[in-house]
């Protein structure tokens, strides 16, 4: 495959103004990756500040509840700032500094990427501007406060559905305007090349650790690896290490919202069609005229009408399977993990937890299943309080 193409997906559908910038970014990342001083510093920060490696936790009571032989959880919820997003944010922030760009722009949905970026910028002394839809600002209010506390400027986005998609638009407009001085720190495996490749590389630490930990713990690889898919960064970070293990099934769980049939969901692979959004050709939720549809998910982090191009490719090739779980199921998963294992997950990976009973149906009760627990649920308590009887 040529750089930046995943079969017929991927590419660089960006305004001409940005074409030199994406080329510069690709060069800079390739150089950084080959530079031992850079990778050593990233490793040190991941260890000393992010808290890596994150543990692998056996979840026997959860496994019993869903009828699976074994479930293990990769604990990205224990990473600094509460989600996997920090792996990518700190890596790209280091890259920004190396490129001499002292102003960082980011978009955020759930606020986890915004918080991670704000924290990384504080650590490295970079200026940070985060775009966030006003609907998301309301439903993830604690994260707005966190970002501001960390010194970031949070800019409210009123346009469109006032969620992640609109925040990305606004961040790209800022980038087009300030491309000479600013670094766009994209938070998922989406966007124009080289972003899907950069984010995958920086998140692949999840799968590398988890694969080794599972081998050591269980003496074998898992049968199924499950991760939630918004833009797809935690999932691709997890899947990357297992792509060469043909016997390991890879399973992405999208946000089914209020149901695929009714159209109020955010499942771009399950319910989308090929299109171009935010710089990449991928699977997109759109109407018959090619307008991007408004999406719905109870979890702000999955509430996005596109998906990383590599996932579109893995779905088309059949190497990975993608399903969706609805809001109500995710809330059940949220409660189930809390009650069985004493862990309150974010609503995003709660979709993956909710999928486990279906994994049993598809792959058998004898399966050993590894789940990416991409983040913790503190940010979602307001939503849960409104929706769950205690």
């Amino acid at each position: 495959m040529t750089a930046g193409r995943y079969g017929r997906f991927g590419g660089q559908f960006v305004p001409e103004t940005l074409m030199p910038a994406v080329a510069e970014l690709e060069r800079a990342f390739d150089e950084a990756r080959a530079d031992e001083a850079f990778t050593a510093e990233l490793d040190r920060i991941l260890r000393e500040w992010v808290g890596r490696p994150t543990p692998l936790t056996d979840a026997p009571r959860l496994a019993a509840a869903v009828g699976l032989r074994r479930v293990t959880l990769k604990r990205e919820d224990l990473a600094h700032t509460g989600a996997h997003k920090i792996n990518n944010a700190v890596g790209q922030a280091l890259l920004a500094r190396r490129m001499g760009k002292h102003r960082v722009i980011a978009e955020t949905g759930a606020g986890q990427h915004g918080v991670a970026t704000a924290a990384a910028c504080a650590l490295l002394g970079l200026e940070c501007v985060v775009y966030m839809g006003t609907l998301d600002m309301r439903r993830q209010e604690p994260n707005v406060f966190r970002m501001r506390l960390l010194g970031a400027e949070v800019r409210a986005v009123e346009a469109g559905s006032r969620t992640l998609k609109d925040a990305v638009n606004e961040a790209i407009r800022d980038w087009v305007t300030n491309v000479r001085t600013s670094y766009y720190l994209l938070g998922s495996a989406i966007g124009p090349h080289p972003y899907p490749a950069i984010v995958r590389e920086l998140q692949s630490v999840i799968g590398r650790e988890a694969r080794a930990q599972h081998l050591e713990r269980a003496g074998r690889l898992p049968d199924v690896v499950v991760a939630c898919v918004g833009g797809g960064s935690n999932a691709i970070g997890m899947f990357a290490a297992f792509l060469g293990d043909d016997a390991v099934r890879l399973r992405g769980v999208e946000a089914g919202g209020e149901g695929i049939a009714g159209g109020r969901h955010a499942a771009s692979i399950v319910g989308g069609r090929e299109g171009v959004l935010h710089g990449a050709r991928t699977l997109v939720l759109q109407d018959g005229a090619g307008q991007i549809r408004e999406t719905h998910s109870i979890s702000a982090g999955l509430d996005y009408p596109g998906v990383g191009p590599e996932h579109a490719f893995l779905s088309a090739s059949g190497r990975a399977e993608y399903v969706s779980r609805e809001d109500a199921e995710a809330l059940e998963g949220f409660r189930l993990l809390a009650r069985t294992e004493g862990i309150i997950p974010a609503l995003e990976p709660a979709h993956a937890i909710a999928d486990l009973a279906h994994v049993r149906g598809r792959h058998g009760a004898d399966s050993e299943v590894l789940v990416c627990l991409s983040g913790r649920g503190d940010k979602d308590l307001d939503t849960a309080i409104a929706r769950l009887a205690p």
């Binding site: 001409e16 103004t17 910038a21 346009a159 469109g160 638009n169 000479r180 299109g275 959004l277 090619g290």
Partner: protein, 271 residues
């Protein structure tokens, strides 16, 4: 019915006439369906009455990431009215038949992709629309669309920006058809008070690689900037400022306001 004059010829003719008259060609962008479906046709004609040489019909898109607030809002209004690629082609066809003018569609990749590139080429040729401008489709991503457009002699107008390096210009500008579109500033569309400082240098860099006419757009706010471009470019593109002129006027005076605004651009375009 086949139209004898191809759209691309109309573009060449418009720039040639402007050159003969020793003035800049004036290209006016209007979002189709703004401020509403019924008002739009009269506005497109008002722009021509005011002296527009080329009309760019804006195809509304839900996520116009190269556009500033004015075009974003106009697109939202048009989408609420349900404006599609088909509608835009129909408006273009009517303008060509009635006024024998060059028309281009300007819009984002996804609605064109959904319409189907082959079908788009067929429809544009039938309507005698000259071609398309797609701000989120750089030359590297255009092979599929170009393959559909080329046999029909339809142009895909590339944009070049102040950030475009010389080696890239050397590679891409010679492939341009119709005219070369230079983005005056590093940023999104939207009327600015002054011309982007990078514009003259960019036009000069572009001219080293082409004899085609060069137009400058993005950010042109009014006659003053048009005047500064005399002797620099061969044409100016005005979009957001035209939409602003429409928005500022009372509903019954919109066409008149747009006509006067375009006439003021035309006046500034001549010595």
């Amino acid at each position: 019915m086949t139209v004898a004059v191809r759209g691309a010829d109309r573009i060449a003719r418009a720039f040639a006439r402007a050159r003969e008259e020793r003035r800049l060609a004036v290209l006016v962008y209007l979002t189709v369906g703004f401020p509403d479906r019924d008002a739009f046709p009269a506005l497109a004609r008002a722009a021509l009455d005011g002296g527009a040489d080329v009309v760019e019909l804006g195809v509304p898109f839900s996520d116009p990431l190269a556009d500033g607030a004015t075009v974003q809002r106009a697109s939202e209004v048009a989408l609420r009215a349900g404006v599609t690629v088909d509608d835009c082609i129909r408006e273009g066809a009517a303008l060509v038949v009635e006024r024998d003018v060059p028309v281009l569609l300007m819009g984002y990749t996804n609605p064109f992709l959904r319409h189907g590139y082959q079908r788009l080429a067929d429809d544009l040729a039938r309507a005698a629309v000259a071609g398309v401008i797609i701000p989120d489709m750089p030359a590297e991503e255009s092979a599929e669309l170009d393959a559909a457009l080329a046999p029909r002699d339809l142009a895909r107008i590339d944009l070049f920006a102040p950030t475009t390096p010389d080696d890239r210009l050397a590679r891409l500008v010679p492939r341009a058809r119709g005219f070369v579109y230079c983005v005056s500033l590093t940023g999104v569309t939207g009327a600015r008070a002054r011309l982007g400082e990078d514009a003259p240098a960019l036009v000069a860099r572009v001219r080293r690689h082409t004899a085609l006419p060069v137009a400058v757009g993005f950010g042109i706010g009014g006659p003053d900037q048009v005047r500064t471009l005399r002797g620099v470019a061969d044409g100016v593109v005005v979009g957001s400022a035209a939409l602003d002129a429409i928005s500022r006027a009372a509903p019954s005076e919109r066409a008149g306001a747009l006509r006067s605004f375009v006439a003021s651009l035309r006046e500034a375009a001549a010595p």
